[in-house]
Structure formats: structure tokens, C-alpha cells
Amino acid sequence: MTQYVLRRLLGAIPLVLGIATIIFFLVNLAPGDPTLLLLSPGVTDEVIQQMRENFGLDQPVHIRYVKWIGAMLTGDFGYSFTHSRPVADVLMDFLPNTLILSASALLVAFLFGIVLGTIQAVRQYSAMDSSLSVVLLFFYSMPSFWLALMLILTMSLYARNVWGLPIYFPASGMMSTDYEFLSAGGKLVDRVKHLVLPTLSLALVLMAGIARYMRGSMLEVVRQDFVRTAHAKGLPERTVVFKHALRNALLPIITLVGLYIPFLFSGTVFIETIFAWPGMGRLIVEAIFQRDYPVVMAGAFFFATMVVVANLVADLLYAVVDPRIRYE
């Protein structure tokens, strides 16, 4: 098994390097230059030149590329122009926030997606099946940033000011301003309260996709002979569906994890902007706009690795769940 994992990782290195290289030249070719953004009237050429030197922008592109790849292999992603900090530190600040948000979104999406998909499959062509699929597709068809804004209006602003509901959710940020003074329990509740709206904005969109895959997969499994054997054994419908059929139907769903990581990444950019969530999505998009090359490169590199790792994890999970698959 470990031999297989090594082979996959080695195989992925050229892929990730390839992506990083493309992005490096793409971003560097983009017009505009970080120093330009910081200038104001009366600046002399000498000052501009000095600033470019400070950023190491005075060398030609290919030299900077070789230096960058060299440094990267030793884990040093260089310095961020806009954050004036080593990029590695910047990533360490932002990465956990995106992981928390993505993990909770994936969890909620997969949980509800699987349950709803199963219900739809078990009750195929019933009123429940079609109404559920319309509601799910309704959210699936919604731009995530619009859904986020609607959620803020309803579950944060109107809930408190207009409808006076007892529970309403903060519209932004990861924690309240008095977070440090809360008890341990209080801290957890506060974090979860801040997670609700952003997670919903991401999960509602993902859920429909997962539910649809699950429904299709369940429909296939429910028709197979061993399900009939389970019925012949006199097992109640609940056990047949949730024990025998569900586990088989879950197999293709797991590979979805690999598919959804890229979606999650682009989806979070909007959610992180609207909910003021200091995550990777926002970091990298702003870095592009400010031509903060080291951060863009590190972000792209991180993203590509994350996709490769997610796909690998999905395949390994497949082996864990399906005994028929063995990786030598």
C-alpha cells in the first residue's frame, strides 16, 4: 500500500511543478507591477528602482523562476510584498481558516447529501423525490455569493432587527470581539455560531450535487441481487437500505471528495469575501490583484497539491471501504 502511495506522490510532483511553472509565467506576464501599486506622486526613479530591488524584481523572469523553484524545494516560499512577512507564515495564518470552513462545509454537504439522496432513491418518482430534487436543485443553481448575501439579510439582519427572533447569526468574522474572555465551552459555541452562515452558503450548493450522485448510485445498488438476498433473509427495510445498500452506494460518493476540493476552493473566495473570513481564497485573489507574486505562487502550489492529495485520499478511502480493491 505505502509503495502505491509513494508511486502516486512521485507521479504527482511533475504535475504540481507543471502547474506552478505555468502560473509563475502567467502571473509575471500579467501587466502591472507590485511596486506601481505603492507609489504616490513625486517618487523618483531612484526610489522605484530601489523598491524593485528590495522585492528582487530587477532580475529577469527566468532567473527569478529558477531562484523561486530552488527556494521552494527547501520550503522557503520567499517574502510577501503586501504582507511584508515570509509567505510561509502568511499561509500558516490563512490555511487553518480555510480548512475549518471547507471541512465543515464538506461535512454538512456530504451528511445531508447522502441522507437526502438515499431518501430520494428509496422513494423514487414519489412526490418526495421530485419535490426534494427541485428544492435541492434550486440551491444548486444559485450563485454562492448571492445565496450568502440572502442568508445574511434573512438570518442575521432581519432575524434580529425585523423579526426579533431569539437566535440570529453573526454576519462576519470567525469569532466575537470578546472571544478570549469566553470559557472553553463559550469559545466553541462562539466559533460554531460564526461558522453557521458561511458553511450553509457553501454546503447548500454542494449538497444537491452529492444528493444526485447518491440517488443514482443508490438506484443502481438497490437493483442488485444481494439486496434481494437481504430481503429474503427477512431483514427489515431499514436494515436492508442503511446497512447493505448504503455501504455499496457510498463507494462512488467518496471519489467525489477529490472532485469537490477544486470547487470548494473557488467557491470559498466569494464566501470568504462576504463573511470577512480570512482564508486562502481571499488571500490569493487579492494577491493576484496586487501582483504579490510569491503569495500567488505559494497559493497555486498549495492548491494543486491539495487537489492531488484529495484525489489520493479519495482513492485510498475507496480501498478502505471496498474490500475488492487492493493497491499493491
Binding site: 441481487d225 444481494f226 434481494r228 430481503h231 429474503a232 433473509k233 427477512g234 455501504r247 474490500p323 475488492r324
Partner: protein, 329 residues
């Protein structure tokens, strides 16, 4: 071959069973008025070409057909030990399945859940019907695996279905079916998917287990060779109806219905190897629109004016009948 007479009261009595399928092309009357009995310790064979409704009959007994398309019509009756099963509560049916009546299927390759260990799947019925705990059901599973002739049962019990051969998987199915000592075992083409050598072993195993457990067997097959070897009595089905019943001896020696004769003629016989096999011309008609009168008339070499009107099942003796006007009672 156990003697039919000492079998005692009828274990399973199916009378006038009609199971129809409501599809958007129309109503398919797959099983159209089938009646037969299975007595204790007896092996009844239902034989017929595929599409004659024999599998639907067996699934109707256990109520395993999905209700929206399939529907058991009013007036059908399936009595098990005198208790009417048509319309019985799902709870009652569940208590019967795998416990009093269990079933094995044709495709061993796909009849076992690929993601669970063999031992778990066997033990499941025991845990459900006998309330055994995990450890006890596992021990019983190992015993059952030995009884069905699987080598190294202690290792095999923890293996997954894909690690066993087709024959062994059928043995596991049998072990699973017998786990709760059922009174009736329904075997739907148990050997069709296996190659010949394994087929013989499985049939021999079925016969020995039937005698040692004293259970009745309802064997569904299209292979007359299997019927001859294992069954006491035979019911021949064609186009959703019973066309002939009788003991194995009567059917093989003195077939009354032209369709039964046709089936027997297409069997290669040992003592006349060179003879060309005669096959029955034509194909089974579409169940949505059964032909009028005798449903075999278009393929019957003795077809005549009498075949135009619907044929009744003519009594020829005790448990002996045929659905053809040419037959004299």
C-alpha cells in the same frame, strides 16, 4: 427418492395465484392462475422455459416482488401451514423469511454483499431470528460452512465473497438459507450459473441436507436433468399457467401435454447418442397479450380446432393433470 404419500399434510398450498405487472406498455400477466402444493419433506420441481413465470411464482410466495409494478391479484391464495400469506402483514412476512421459508438464487456471483465478510452475512439471519450474539452466530456460521462442505471454514468465515469461487459462494448461500432450520427451501435455478461438475456437487449437497434437515424443497429450474435427479413431483409451467403435474416417474415415462413431450424430446438421451435433437419451434408469446385459447397452440405440432377455446386443467388421477383437450381423463 422419498415416497410422496408419507409426506403428510400440505406445507405450502398455492391456489389460483395471479401476479400481474402494470407497465406503461400495458398489463403483463406473468403468472395467470397457478395452483400447486408442496407437502412436508417433499421436493417439488417447477420446470419450464425462461419467461414462463416460474421465478415470479417463487418470489410471490415470499412476497419479494416490488409492489408498484407487480401486483398479486384478488382471489390468489398462498397458504403456508394453513396460514394465508397473500395480504399478510410485512412484519409477519419478515418473521417467515429466512426463518420458516428461505431461498437461494441463481447468480451466486452477485447474490452476496461484496463489502461484508461471509461469516457476518450467514450469521445475520441467526442474529435476527434467533437473537444470537455476534460470537455465537459466528461459531454457528463456521459449523454451517463445514456442513455445506467448505474446506478450512475458520479461515473462510472471515473472507469476502470475491475471494471464493462460484461453487463455494453457492454453498455459502445454502448455509445462509439453512441457518434457521427452515421448513421450506425455495431454490431458484441454484445450479444454472455453475459448470457441470460443480452442479452435481451442489445438487447432491441439497439432497443430503434436505433429508438430514427434513425440509421441503421447491426447486425452480429449466433443466429436466436436475428435476429427474432431485425431485419427487413436477409441475410443468408454460406462459404463466400450469400445463401438467405429476410424479417425476409419471412425467418422464408418460408425458401427456405436448409441451412436456417437446421438452423431453429436446433432451439428449444416453442410449441414442447419434439422434438429432428436436427443439420446440417458435418463442414464448408476449405476456401483455397472451394468445386466445391454448397458449401453446402456435408452437404445438398437434394443434387443431379444439385449441381455439381456453383449455382447462384435466384431472388424470391423484396429483396428475394436463391442460390439453386431447387428453382423456
Amino acid at each position: 427418492m422419498s415416497d410422496a404419500q408419507t409426506a403428510g399434510a400440505s406445507l405450502l398450498a398455492v391456489s389460483d395465484l395471479r401476479t400481474w405487472f402494470h407497465t406503461d406498455q400495458g398489463v403483463a400477466r406473468a403468472v395467470d392462475g397457478v395452483s400447486f402444493e408442496v407437502r412436508g419433506r417433499e421436493t417439488l420441481g417447477i420446470v419450464g422455459e425462461s419467461g414462463c413465470g416460474k421465478t415470479v411464482t417463487s418470489l410471490s410466495v415470499l412476497g419479494l416482488l416490488p409492489q408498484p409494478p407487480a401486483k398479486i391479484q384478488e382471489g390468489s391464495s398462498i397458504r403456508f401451514e394453513g396460514e394465508e400469506l397473500v395480504g399478510a402483514s410485512t412484519k409477519r412476512m419478515r418473521a417467515l423469511r429466512g426463518n420458516e421459508i428461505s431461498m437461494i438464487f441463481q447468480e451466486p456471483m452477485s447474490s452476496l454483499n461484496p463489502v461484508y465478510k461471509v461469516g457476518d452475512q450467514i450469521g445475520e439471519a441467526l442474529r435476527l431470528h434467533r437473537g444470537m450474539n455476534k460470537r455465537a452466530s459466528r461459531a454457528e456460521a463456521v459449523r454451517l460452512l463445514t456442513e455445506v462442505g467448505i474446506p478450512e471454514p475458520d479461515r473462510r468465515v472471515d473472507e469476502y465473497p470475491h475471494q471464493l469461487s462460484g461453487g463455494m459462494r453457492q454453498r455459502v448461500m445454502i448455509a445462509m438459507a439453512l441457518s434457521c432450520e427452515p421448513q421450506l427451501l425455495i431454490a431458484d435455478e441454484p445450479t444454472t450459473a455453475l459448470d457441470v461438475t460443480i452442479q452435481a456437487q451442489i445438487l447432491e449437497l441439497l439432497a443430503s441436507l434436505r433429508d438430514s434437515h427434513g425440509m421441503a424443497v421447491l426447486l425452480i429450474t429449466h433443466d429436466l436433468g436436475v428435476v429427474a435427479e432431485v425431485c419427487d413431483r413436477v409441475v410443468v409451467m408454460y406462459a404463466g399457467q400450469v400445463v401438467e403435474t405429476g410424479t417425476v416417474h409419471e412425467i418422464f415415462q408418460d408425458p401427456q401435454h405436448p409441451y412436456t413431450r417437446g421438452l423431453l424430446d429436446s433432451l439428449p438421451s444416453v442410449d441414442d447418442p447419434g439422434q438429432r435433437l428436436r427443439s420446440i419451434p417458435g418463442t414464448v408469446p408476449n405476456p401483455i397479450a397472451w394468445p386466445h385459447g391454448c397458449r401453446f397452440k402456435d408452437r404445438c405440432s398437434l394443434a387443431g380446432p379444439g385449441c381455439e377455446k381456453p383449455q382447462d386443467l384435466v384431472e388424470l388421477g391423484v396429483d396428475r393433470a394436463a391442460r390439453c383437450w386431447r387428453v382423456e381423463s
